[in-house]
């Protein structure tokens, strides 16, 4: 399979902040690639570097076969980029926005193409409505339609479904899968686990570092976590207690149940069985989910980088009291 995106060692600094660290990314053609990570983890910066909006400080790679640093005009021509915030012109109508983009990409038979796009959107009757008056879901559909107008080979979507209702999100993902089936590659960042599971491949990024990359199954397998679901009364209190048991690495409340995970299967199993028997809790072995894995990834990176990133927390040997007086 040829790669739509193949970059290595991308770095980006904003002042003293190292926002993206040695990003390596391989995305195949016709693949829906999910980009996950907490807010401020460098997802948007990475996407902007891929479409030429930001210049990487170092690194190299290609996008659709064009050099990332030298040929970004060619990349822009073949890429559709949907910004996180709606960035079409509020004071232009839907049709005018599409017309504007069609002209910018020098589309032949512009009028016919715009009409077709309006038809697909189901917005023919509202074509003259100002874009600023659209609801969130419609704005998102307009943005997707506009960045699809020039039939790009690669779509870069930055949190396209933030603030969009579930049914519109479902429609949106069906559309993405249709596009991918027709050979378009999609890089989409999201915070939703259900969306992550719909992606062919995933990457998880936190504090600018790519922590895992691959299919959902391989990312889950890679962390080698074993998970049990604990249910019963007073889960909050139980969580505090279970956390300190041998073999327990992570406890997360999911609705009315507690997910307890750890890498040492035997140790964890023994600890939990003893604890649950004592407190009359129901214990059930479950397959480790994506969310368990991501929380685990987050924790591991937090533990590693705490000394560097967490400025508010002083090292114990520092005389914090001296500066506070008294």
């Amino acid at each position: 399979m040829t790669l739509a995106i193949d970059v290595a060692g991308l770095n980006k600094h904003f002042g003293a902040r190292h926002v993206v660290k040695d990003l390596n990314l391989q995305i195949g053609r016709g693949e829906i690639f999910g980009f996950l990570g907490p807010n401020g983890s460098g997802k948007t910066t990475s996407i902007r570097m891929l479409c030429g909006l930001l210049t990487p400080d170092s690194g190299h790679g290609q996008c659709l076969g064009f050099d990332l640093l030298r040929e970004h005009r060619e990349i822009k021509r073949r890429t559709g980029y949907m910004t996180q915030k709606f960035s079409f012109w509020d004071d232009l109508s839907i049709r005018e926005n599409l017309d504007f983009f069609a002209r910018l990409y020098q589309l032949p038979q512009r009028r016919r193409q715009v009409d077709a796009a309006l038809e697909r959107l189901g917005l023919c009757s509202r074509a003259s409505q100002l874009a600023g008056t659209l609801s969130g879901g419609w704005k998102q559909r307009l943005a997707l339609a506009a960045c699809m107008l020039h039939e790009p080979e690669l779509l870069l979507l930055d949190e396209p479904t933030a603030g969009v209702d579930p049914s519109a999100r479902r429609d949106f993902w069906e559309e993405l899968h249709r596009l991918a089936a027709s050979g378009i590659s999609v890089l989409v960042s999201t915070h939703y686990m259900d969306e992550a599971e719909r992606c062919h491949k995933l990457a998880y990024i936190a504090w600018g570092q790519l922590l895992a990359q691959g299919s959902a199954a391989s990312i889950i397998a890679g962390q080698a976590l074993h998970t049990w679901q604990v249910s019963g009364a007073a889960l909050n209190r139980e969580m505090a207690r279970l956390q300190h048991l041998p073999g327990v690495e992570q406890t997360v409340i999911f609705g009315s149940a507690l997910h307890v995970s750890g890498r040492n299967e035997a140790l964890l199993s023994a600890s939990l069985q003893a604890a649950c028997a004592q407190d009359q809790l129901t214990l059930q072995r479950i397959p480790t989910g994506l969310e368990d894995v991501f929380i685990h990834l987050m924790q591991s990176i937090t533990d590693q980088t705490q000394g560097i990133t967490d400025w508010t927390q002083r090292a114990p040997d520092q005389p914090a009291e001296a500066t506070d007086g008294r």
Partner: protein, 379 residues
């Protein structure tokens, strides 16, 4: 490389978009038409560099025919408005300090007696020179008035005391504006001021608005080139500038009766060049400013020297050399000379050229600067 060429389609996309947005922005549109009209009405009628009817008081110790004639001659000159007489120098001082009087004429008690005796007595005219421009024209008119009065009063046996005419005379021709009509100078100058303000401000906001609304990110992700964006954004304002020029020219002709000696074509071509120069300033400021507020501040920063150093308000030749150098850089300086030259003097192209090439040079340099400063990325 084909992709690197200027594309008229993309350029036209920008032009159309700007026109559409401008049409939707009613307030801006109203300002474009309203601003020249309001400024014309305000400044055209208000600014007068030839102030008349300045309040004048007389402290007179001498009630002779001479003093009566002098006072009435001052009054009829229309520069002085004699408000009344004051008893003593102390009250005159109070009036000057309080600003009620611009002039106080002191006539000493035995003025006419000394005059008749040929002792060449002196009259004293106190004036409030805290604003040196205000009494200027009146003072220039004073000596001829005094001469006239002396000749009329010192007739018959006293004619020996009358001033002798100078052995030669100087004829003054006030060319291009014989009546010294301020409006002939101010109204064409206003054209440049209005164009500078609207053109620089509108385009100054043009690029920062895209950045503030987040639409710049979208624009940068498309293949559109800096020159296409910049020149495309400028075009609608050229049209606006031409509309404003027309409004001002019509008002100059019909309302203020400013002479229109030169060619209409020349006026429009010169206006076009001046508009282009200002738009490149605006676009450059727009590329420099981070947000619309900064763009506004930069506009004011550019606008003030344009008004004060261009010869619109104060005589260009009155400025020291270094200030003239600054003035020569500003497009408004050259436009003021050009428009006054065409309207009042009927200058032809050869005479206009010395002020046209600086405008051309300025426009080309600033355009280059704007394209250089245009941020191609979000870095």
């Amino acid at each position: 490389m084909a992709a690197e060429r200027f594309s008229w389609t993309r350029w036209w996309a920008i032009v159309l978009k700007e026109f559409l947005q401008l049409r939707r922005d009613r307030l801006t549109f109203a300002m474009i038409i309203g601003l020249p009209i309001v400024q014309m009405a305000l400044f055209g009628y208000a600014i007068n560099t030839d102030p008349r009817n300045l309040p004048t008081y007389v402290v007179s110790g001498d009630h002779s025919e001479f003093s009566r004639r002098l006072v009435s001659a001052l009054q009829t000159s229309s520069y002085f408005r004699v408000e009344g007489t004051l008893p003593d120098a102390a009250s005159a001082d109070r009036m000057l300090r309080g600003g009620q009087a611009v002039f106080v004429l002191h006539i000493p008690p035995d003025f006419s007696r000394q005059l008749v005796r040929g002792e060449q007595p002196a009259l004293l005219l106190d004036t409030d020179a805290s604003d040196p421009l205000a009494p200027g024209m009146a003072l220039a008119a004073l000596n001829p008035i005094v001469e006239q009065v002396s000749r009329e009063t010192l007739a018959g046996p006293l004619s020996a005391l009358a001033p002798q005419p100078a052995p030669f005379s100087v004829m003054v021709h006030r060319l291009y504006n014989p009546e010294n009509n301020t409006q002939y100078n101010v109204v064409p100058g206003l054209m440049g001021v209005v164009l500078t303000l609207t053109m620089v401000m509108m385009t100054g906001l043009a690029m920062t608005r895209e950045r503030e609304r987040g639409t710049m990110e979208n624009l940068l992700a498309t293949p559109v080139r800096p020159l296409e964006v910049i020149s495309g954004k400028i075009i609608p304002y050229v049209a606006i500038g031409m509309v404003q020029s027309t409004i001002i020219l019509l008002a100059a002709h019909w309302v203020f009766h400013v002479p229109f000696v030169g060619s209409v074509l020349a006026v429009y071509l010169v206006a076009l060049l001046f508009i282009a120069a200002n738009l490149t300033v605006g676009i450059t400021l727009s590329s420099l400013a981070g947000n619309q507020l900064q763009a506004m501040q930069l506009t004011i920063f550019y606008f003030l020297p344009s008004i004060l150093l261009s010869g619109f308000m104060f005589p260009f030749r009155g400025m020291p050399g270094w200030a003239q150098v600054i003035g020569e850089v500003l497009p408004l300086t050259h436009f003021n000379r050009l428009i006054r030259g065409i309207l009042l003097k009927g200058s032809h192209w050869g005479e206009l050229w010395p002020d046209i090439w600086p405008l051309l040079l300025f426009t080309v340099l600033l355009m280059g600067l704007a394209v250089t400063f245009y941020r191609r990325t979000l870095d």
